[in-house]
Structure formats: structure tokens, C-alpha cells
């Protein structure tokens, strides 16, 4: 393949959305008969690049060359006519139409006056048999699993004489055997000379199926590598875009002088507060085992999408686990809702502050007391005076900058909103606090103040589960680090002896 020219090349692609430069001079080369993985963290520009290629949102600048001719697809249909077909993560078929109808939707096997149903059915069966799928094509799509639906979508692409097939996160809702089935199909297409672009954030799958990898970072092409020449570790490093530094001071070490004074507290801390056994949920994480100890900060490392947030949601009862169990203080706890979790002494600062955290139009006071009031129940209302005392205390303690406690919380800066959320949970006097990206998008000073408070609480015996994409923060503020990869927990490291290289090595997995 190296000698020949690429079937598709994107050069210098730039795309700006209001407020963000999504792509700046990004590019991509695809050869016929290869599986090419497009990798990058969330926000790296993967989907934007795909959208440019498929004509969903044309680029501001740059060139797309298909088989030596420059093309400018202005719509998905135009791209399809040029031979570029896409199968999206959320398969977009019409669920109540038959498989055959979906495959030929909009451009059926039509005769002069009417649709030739028999021919259509026969063609659909042929296409699917080519993928080694033998199903009843007259049944509605909705009756089949997501995996089969994907096959139908792929068959649809084949029927359009596609030469470039884009699979956008095709495996994220598939079970393992279904993934294998999909990969078998991909390999068959590759052998037939199709250029397959595989967008994913699953490392294992990338190394399993692809020939070459293009890494995007911050809207730029970081590089293009043959899979054989790239180690998992260096792939991760390229995705997160940092030289793996030597480790900085760790929380357990900086805390040493105090703890060192008498060695007993370290042992007293050892009681496990929460332990998850084999926790999992279909379409989410699987087989997660975690022990979080009182007075200990457990960090969670992993790439975005590796299952960190999903784990937190299961622990806090936002999603219900359908496998495994949670024990609190050694006793099995049934956590089916956030309320259950709160009653067990948990608190959760979610990842998306605006959508899941603050109640924007309500005042700082109301936002701060909300979880405590929920914990007390609707009838045991906190008096206005008590509410005022609580909120004043936290405004002072955390240095929340607001004109007064009655202004809407949405008028505060991001850092102060995050402090208000921390106050909300501190007010409930939690025994364990889950922090999901608590420092994202807030200024350095607020970051330090927030983490300092959390660490103080932790030293006083609260358990902490700390999720962050900033690996140096995870190492700095954790005693132990649980590492997630591909929606499983792959190991645990002692933060006292770990540096970024060790964590990334575990994130990358396999040989490194």
C-alpha cells in the first residue's frame, strides 16, 4: 500500500465553531485495503474531522482529495454519491421499516411504476450474506440487536458502492462477541479493498484491528503511525500530549511530617468504608472492584471514556448497577438512587457542573443547603436562620465570592460555582466524597483552595474518590490510584511510588 497513492487525503483542514477552533490544519490519509484508526481524546477534533469529510459541516479551509480529484462534499448525500459512507454510533435507521427497506431507503430497486419488492429483498439478502449475516430481511430493524442493525447500516453503505467506509465509535454499545463479529466483517471488507476509517477510543480494539493510526490532538494532526511501530504507551502519551514527567511530590509524602509524628493514624485509617465488588452495568463498566478507605483518597486514572464517570454514577445510584454489589462498612448496601447514596453518607460533585450540578436560577443559599435539606426530607425544613448560618460559614470557609448569598448561583464564576457545590456536599457531613473532574475549567487559585479543603476533610477521616484527567493532579492528591481502561478497572497503583510513566503504562496496557 505504501507505494501507491492514498485513495483519500485530507490536507490542512480548519474548522471554527463559535468560540472554539475545532480543527486547525488537520489531515488524514487513507489507503485502499487498510483499516485506519482515528484516535484522540474527547474534544481532539475526531468528530469534526468526520463531519467535514461526510459533508455534514464543510470546512473553513483545506482540501479533500479522493482518487486524485479534489472534492467538496456539501451534504451527507453528496459524500455518499462520491463513495464515502458512514455508520454512526447511534445507528440511524428507521426502526419500524424492514431491514431490506432500510438498506435501499430512498433509492430502492424501483421498476418503472413501482418498487420491485422481490428484487429488493434478494439484493438485501445477498449484501448481508456477503457479510456472513443470515437474517430475515423483511422483519423490522427494531427487532434486531444493535450489532445486527450496524450490519444493516454497513450493508446499506456497500449498496452505495462505497469505497471509503467510516465507522464512528461502532463498538461502544456492543458486547464482546458482537465486537468480534463486527471485526470479522471489517477484515472481509478490507480484503476486498475497502478503505475503512475506524474512530474509537478503545485502545485494545485499535491495536487489534487497525493497520495505521492517525492521532489528533487539540484539533491538529499529531502524527500518523503504522500500528506495528507504535507502542501503547507512546500512543497514550501522544493522545494526551505530554512528555511523561518524573513524579512531583505526592500527598502522602507532603503529609508525612504530621503523620510521622505518630505512626498510629496510618493504621487507624485502614478501615474500608465502601467496597464495590464486580460492579457493572450493560453498556457501561464491567467487573469493577474498588475499596475506598476512610481517610484515604483514591484517585482514578484513565482516558476520557474509560469508565471513570460511569463507575462514579453507579456508586452514587444515578445509574443502577445490574451486576455486582456495593458494601458500605462491610454491609451490603442497596443504592438505587442518589438519595440512597446520600443516606449512606456519600456525596458527589459531578463532571458537568452546569447540567448536573448547580440549579442556576436559585440562590447560592438554596444551592448550598439543597442536598442537606434533601437528606433531612421535605418536612424537616431548615429554618431560614439556620440556612443563613450554614451558607455564611461556607462562604467564609471556602472563600466563595458572591455579592451575597441571595444572588442566583449562575451569576458566579465557574470556580465559585464549584465551591458552592463542594459546600453543598460538605454541609451534609459526608463520609465519602466523589469528585468527578472538580478542577476542570476553573482558575488555578480556586483549584488549589478546593483541593486543599478536600484534602483537609480526607485527613479528618473522610473517604475521597477523585477523578481527574490531569494525571499530575491525580498523583498529587491520591493515596492510591485505580486505573481504568476500556470500561474495566485494570489495576491499582500506590501513588506514593508511582509516577506518570507508570500510570500511563497501566492505562495503555499490554506491552509498553
Amino acid at each position: 500500500m505504501d507505494g501507491s497513492a492514498p485513495i483519500l487525503e485530507m490536507r490542512g483542514i480548519s474548522k471554527r465553531f463559535p468560540g472554539v477552533q475545532a480543527l486547525s490544519r488537520a489531515g488524514l490519509r487513507l489507503f485502499a485495503g487498510e483499516v485506519h484508526a482515528l484516535m484522540g481524546q474527547n474534544g481532539a477534533g475526531k468528530s469534526t474531522l468526520i463531519k467535514v469529510l461526510t459533508g455534514v459541516s464543510p470546512a473553513d479551509a483545506g482540501q479533500i482529495v479522493l482518487e486524485g480529484k479534489e472534492i467538496r462534499p456539501q451534504s451527507p448525500i453528496a459524500a455518499q454519491d462520491l463513495g464515502i459512507s458512514t455508520v454512526y454510533q447511534e445507528v440511524n435507521l428507521c426502526p419500524n421499516l424492514s431491514v431490506a427497506e432500510n438498506i435501499f431507503l430512498g433509492r430502492g430497486e424501483t421498476g418503472t411504476y413501482k418498487i420491485k419488492w422481490k428484487d429488493m429483498r434478494r439484493r438485501a439478502e445477498e449484501l448481508l450474506r456477503g457479510l456472513h449475516i443470515d437474517i430475515d430481511v423483511t422483519a423490522p430493524v427494531a427487532e434486531y440487536s444493535i450489532a445486527i442493525q450496524q450490519m444493516a447500516a454497513i450493508a446499506r453503505s456497500l449498496s452505495t458502492q462505497a469505497r471509503v467506509l467510516i465507522l464512528d465509535e461502532p463498538t461502544s454499545s456492543l458486547a464482546e462477541d458482537e465486537v468480534n463479529m463486527l471485526f470479522a466483517v471489517i477484515r472481509r471488507l478490507k480484503a476486498q479493498g475497502m478503505a475503512v476509517l475506524f474512530v474509537t477510543h478503545f485502545l485494545d480494539q485499535t491495536f487489534d484491528i487497525s493497520d495505521r493510526i492517525t492521532v489528533l490532538r487539540n484539533g491538529e494532526r499529531e502524527g500518523e503511525y503504522p500500528v506495528a511501530e507504535l507502542s501503547r504507551l507512546s500512543l497514550v502519551a501522544k493522545m494526551v500530549g505530554r512528555e511523561l514527567s518524573e513524579r512531583g511530590p505526592n500527598r502522602s509524602e507532603t503529609a508525612e511530617p504530621e503523620a510521622g509524628a505518630d505512626a498510629e493514624p496510618a493504621e487507624a485509617k485502614a478501615a474500608v468504608f465502601l467496597s464495590a465488588e464486580n460492579l457493572g452495568r450493560r453498556g457501561s463498566v464491567h467487573g469493577v472492584n474498588l475499596d475506598v478507605r476512610s481517610g484515604e483518597s483514591l484517585g482514578m486514572g484513565g482516558l476520557l471514556g474509560s469508565g471513570r464517570t460511569e463507575t462514579a454514577r453507579l456508586l452514587f445510584g444515578i445509574d443502577r448497577a445490574d451486576e455486582g454489589s456495593i458494601k458500605i462498612d462491610g454491609k451490603t448496601a442497596r443504592i438505587g438512587s442518589p438519595m440512597d447514596a446520600i443516606q449512606h453518607g456519600l456525596g458527589f460533585c459531578p463532571e458537568d457542573r452546569k447540567v448536573e450540578g448547580i440549579v442556576g436560577d436559585l440562590s447560592v443559599r438554596e444551592n448550598v443547603i439543597l442536598a442537606l435539606q434533601a437528606k433531612r426530607g421535605v418536612f424537616r425544613i431548615l429554618t431560614r436562620k439556620r440556612q443563613q448560618e450554614i451558607v455564611d460559614a461556607f462562604i467564609r470557609l471556602l472563600g466563595i465570592k458572591a455579592k451575597d448569598a441571595e444572588v442566583p448561583v449562575s451569576t458566579l464564576s465557574g470556580g465559585n460555582q464549584q465551591k458552592a457545590l463542594l459546600a453543598r456536599w460538605m454541609a451534609t457531613d459526608p463520609r465519602m466524597l466523589i469528585l468527578d473532574e472538580p478542577t476542570r475549567g476553573i482558575d488555578v487559585a480556586a483549584k488549589l483552595e478546593i483541593m486543599q479543603q478536600v484534602m483537609d476533610l480526607c485527613d479528618k477521616g473522610m473517604a475521597v474518590l477523585f477523578i481527574s484527567s490531569e494525571m499530575d493532579e491525580v498523583i498529587k492528591y491520591s493515596d492510591k490510584i485505580a486505573v481504568m481502561r476500556d470500561r474495566r478497572k485494570v489495576g491499582e497503583l500506590d501513588a506514593g511510588h508511582a509516577d506518570e510513566r507508570a500510570v500511563f503504562a497501566m492505562i495503555a496496557g499490554g506491552e509498553s
Partner: protein, 353 residues
């Protein structure tokens, strides 16, 4: 000497003008002033047989059902929901109670009902509550959009009322029941007491417990409310149940008032006036902050407007247009954007936060 006292007063007024019930109060006052100018009898209240009589007394009395429904609806709207089935629920509760009282006229037996009155009233309210729970179930647990979920009952409810009354208009001859909608207690119409008691009850329920805070949180951001531990579904469910219960109560008053239950016409188009009353009162359809007192004022504005239009002698063919114009003006005054524009034009920069 009076100079130093002026700024605090102005400041207090300005503070008041930002409150939710300020503009409804102003509009109501303007309407009453208008009536004072055009109709000298409007404000005259006389005492006959120990009962109060007069236009003002009458406006309040007639507004009672709308006030009651609006109060309930306020809670649902505050959760960013809507209930358009209240009118049909009124018909159902009216039909239920009338049916149980019995619609047969027997000379000389106007004080005998087929079932005890308390049972009839309880059944009317009970069936309204049940249908409210049905609405709440559809919205909170099935996940239907509120307008669709309650549209089902809006349509089906009339049928249910017909079914209960076997397609007939049930005339009630049982005199003690008339008291609910027409009676007087200590000189005032009995409906005043019902409205007053309900307002106090709901104010206690929402402001002396955390229910008000929870409802507002759900209306602003249901996801964050759930993450903070609120039982969002349960609270939403009871919001709809309570609204329907209020509608049931209003249905009883109207049925008592006209001494008959008509499945087809009791509470017809009532949902529209009720939504209007809530919005005029200062509760946004976007959910969040709500004011029960505002909704009561909103209902009062609508009733005053109707009465004024009749008493001034507006030709019947343009009454709806006049009504629409007034409603339009009040709605504009309640719009945040318009207020911001007015504030920006205003004298001092103090209005700018």
C-alpha cells in the same frame, strides 16, 4: 425633615417593584380605579339579611373556582410542567358528586340525598385525586411530555364525566349542597373561606416545608435536583395529583353554584384561563420560581376584567378583543426582557445589577 425619609421609601418601592406580585397588584389597582371612575356602584357593598352584597363581593365569589385551580396549577407549572386537563377534571368531580347526591326531584324532599353529603363530596374530590395521580404517573414515571399526558385526560375526561352522568345533565335538588357555592358564613360568601383555607394550606405546605424549594429546583434543573438527592419523580407525581384535587374542588363549587352537573360544559376551556392566571400572576412557564399569591391575583384580574367589560357595557362582539388587549399588556409587563428594557431606560443606574 421629611427629606431623609424619602430615599428609603423609594428604595423600598424599587425593591417591591422587582417582586413577583408587584405588577399584578398594579394592574388590579388600575382596573379597580377605572371601575371607580366609570361605575359608582362598583364599590358599594350593602348588607342584606346579614350577607354582604355588591359587585366587589361578587367578583371575588365568581373568581373562587379559577383562583383554586390556578393555585394548584402553579405547582405543576413551577416544575416546568403543565396540566391542561383541569377543566375536564372539574366536570368529572361535579358529575360524581351530583350523581351520588341523586338527581331525582321529589316534592318536599329537598333535604334528602341518596348518600350522605360528606361521602358525595369526598367521592368527587377522590375521583379528581385519582385522575391527578394518573396524570402524575404518566408524566413522572412513564415520561410522557406533560402537555401530551394531560391532553389525554382533557379529551377522555369529558367522556368519563358523561359516563358517570349517563349522558344527562344532573340537576341537584338537594339544598344543603347549594351552600358550597352559594352559601354565606358570617356575612361572607362561603367560597371565600375555601379559597382562604386552601391558600393558607398551600403556603404552609410549600413554604413551611422544603416542598417549595424542591419544586423550584426541579423546575430549574431536574438533573441537578436528582443529583442532589431530590426524589424528582415522586414530587412531580404529587404535583399533578394536587393540581387535580384543586380542580375537583373547583368543580364542586361550580356544580353547587349552578345546581347542576353538565359533563359537556362544566369547566369548559377552564385550563386556558387558569394557565393565563398563573402567568399573569408572575410564575414563568419555564418553571422555577413560583408565587401562589400571584396566581390568586392573576385569577382576580381575569374575573375583574370580565366583570368590568360587562358593567361598562362593552359591545359583546368586541369583549374578547378588549380582554385580549389587557392580557397582552400584563403579559408584556411580566416579560423579563421588557422589564430589562424599561429598567435600562429608567433614571438611575441602580436598576442595573
Amino acid at each position: 425633615m421629611s427629606e431623609p425619609a424619602a430615599p428609603p421609601l423609594a428604595a423600598r418601592l424599587r425593591h417591591l417593584s422587582k417582586g413577583p406580585v408587584f405588577w399584578p397588584l398594579v394592574v388590579l389597582a388600575l382596573m379597580l380605579l377605572f371601575n371607580l371612575a366609570t361605575n359608582a356602584h362598583f364599590f358599594s357593598v350593602t348588607v342584606r339579611d346579614g350577607h354582604l352584597y355588591g359587585s366587589l363581593v361578587d367578583v371575588l365569589n365568581r373568581a373562587a373556582p379559577l383562583m383554586i385551580v390556578s393555585m394548584g396549577l402553579t405547582l405543576v407549572i413551577a416544575t416546568k410542567g403543565i396540566d391542561i386537563s383541569v377543566g375536564s377534571v372539574m366536570a368529572i368531580s361535579g358529575a360524581m358528586t351530583a350523581m351520588l347526591i341523586g338527581g331525582k326531584y321529589v316534592m318536599g324532599q329537598e333535604d334528602i340525598a341518596a348518600h350522605p353529603l360528606w361521602l358525595c363530596i369526598l367521592a368527587g374530590l377522590g375521583v379528581a385525586l385519582l385522575f391527578g395521580m394518573w396524570n402524575g404517573f404518566l408524566v413522572a414515571y412513564v415520561g410522557l411530555q406533560p402537555i401530551i399526558a394531560t391532553l389525554i385526560l382533557l379529551v377522555a375526561g369529558r367522556g368519563v364525566a358523561q359516563l358517570i352522568s349517563e349522558g344527562q345533565i344532573i340537576t341537584v335538588y338537594y339544598r344543603p349542597f347549594y351552600f358550597v357555592g352559594n352559601g354565606f358564613l358570617l356575612g361572607f360568601p362561603f367560597s371565600y373561606y375555601i379559597v382562604g383555607a386552601l391558600l393558607v394550606l398551600l403556603l404552609l405546605l410549600t413554604r413551611k416545608t422544603a416542598l417549595g424549594l424542591f419544586i423550584e429546583s426541579i423546575g430549574v434543573n431536574p438533573v441537578a435536583a436528582r443529583f442532589a438527592g431530590l426524589r424528582v419523580r415522586l414530587i412531580t407525581f404529587w404535583g399533578y395529583a394536587l393540581t387535580s384535587l384543586c380542580a375537583g374542588l373547583a368543580g364542586l363549587i361550580i356544580t353547587s353554584n349552578v345546581k347542576s352537573a353538565d359533563g359537556n360544559n362544566t369547566g369548559l376551556d377552564f385550563e386556558l384561563d387558569a394557565i393565563l392566571a398563573v402567568v399573569l400572576g408572575g410564575t414563568s412557564l419555564n418553571g422555577g420560581r413560583f408565587t401562589l399569591v400571584g396566581s390568586v391575583l392573576g385569577a382576580l384580574i381575569i374575573q375583574t376584567l370580565t366583570t368590568t367589560i360587562y358593567s361598562v357595557g362593552v359591545p359583546p362582539e368586541i369583549t374578547l378583543v378588549v380582554k385580549a388587549i389587557v392580557v397582552f399588556i400584563v403579559s408584556i409587563l411580566q416579560s423579563d426582557r421588557v422589564r430589562a428594557m424599561l429598567a435600562a431606560r429608567g433614571p438611575a443606574g441602580e436598576a442595573v445589577r
